[in-house]
Amino acid sequence: MNGLTNGLYDGLLTGQGNGLFDGLNNGLNNGLFNNDSANDYNALSFINAVGTLTSREANAINVLVYQLKYYKIWNKCVAIYPFIGGTASTHKFNLVSPLDSNAAYRLTFSGGWTHSSTGALPNGTNAFANTNLIPNNFFRNYNSLHLSFYSRTNSITLTGRVDIGSQSAANRSLLMAYGSYNQTYYYSGDNLLNFAVQNPGVADTRGLLIGTTTAYNRLQLFNNGRLIASDNDVISASLPTLNIWIGANSNSGGVEWGNKECAFASIGYSLNNYECIILYQIVQNYQSLLGRQV
């Protein structure tokens, strides 16, 4: 019965998602989003803050912001990291609030990173990017947030490698990872109780991973627009009191160091199923405009 339900649910999601994709693609084909001259205010603020983007990169940012707003995902994001421009000084900016300040959730890079036009690659040894965002200070509870991470690296390990998250205690976990401990997972709450895990994980750890929890206490994990794991739970745990890091678990000054090149990440409020599917399409389109999609 579970298999049947899951199959029907998957089919429904895919079918409805495809309808939305078609609408998005038609819009793109009609040139709705590819108009350089119609720079969005937020896109322009980011482009000016970074200061060194090419016209191709600026256009990709403009399209990204336009689409996120068109599909009403923009207002659900607290931080969006487009990883554009090829250096730590351009990768650090938060698209939602592109101020060069920790208070605006700018990234602070530490340890061994390799920055390039395709994104930022942590070395898996001591590299992390601090978002300066503490979940416990910002979000009300686990039911109100999402994380996303676009990986350009295919790597599955038997050891722990967290791609984005924060953990101040075992029962205060907000962690998401591709191919870590041979699993793909989203922990949101007590790490013994609240998790959506695909075990073994995805065969290819490239693409967009989204972890979100809905108001119905349902943890969901989407890989490239497809629901791959879920869990129904009442989450009573408190939120982590440490900053969310990209490229590692922020517990104990850094553990479970990640090794996936990041080309996009976001932190924000809960996303519903359709928004997870659409966000994948938008991010994939953004990567395609930059010639770095996987």
Binding site: T87, A88, S89, K92, T108, F109, S110, G111, G112, W113, T114, N123, G124, T125, N126, A127, F128, T159, G160, Q167, A170, N191, N251, S252, G253, G254, V255, E256, W257
Partner: protein, 80 residues
């Protein structure tokens, strides 16, 4: 072994060995724009930095990191 002797494939297996004083001097310091050193301890409690930090360092105050001795890296075990 020194940085100049490493092949790109060896970047993931070697790290630069620090003294306690060197570790203390690197904490909170930039090795290039918007990129901070992050000394960590390996399995044997040695303080180390990554080869990326050594090779990408352009801060004149810390160019000595390029001359650090390299050791094979063994990570600490993580048990929560």
């Amino acid at each position: 072994m020194k940085l100049t002797e490493l092949t790109p494939e060896q970047y993931l297996t070697y790290v630069g060995l620090l003294t306690i004083e060197q570790k203390d001097s690197l904490i909170g310091q930039l090795y290039m724009a918007d990129s901070y050193f992050n000394p960590i301890q390996d399995y044997y409690e040695n303080w180390v930095i990554s080869v990326e930090e050594m090779s990408q360092c352009i801060n004149p105050e810390f160019m000595w990191v390029k001359d650090l001795d390299l050791i094979e890296y063994r990570p600490k075990e993580f048990i929560l």
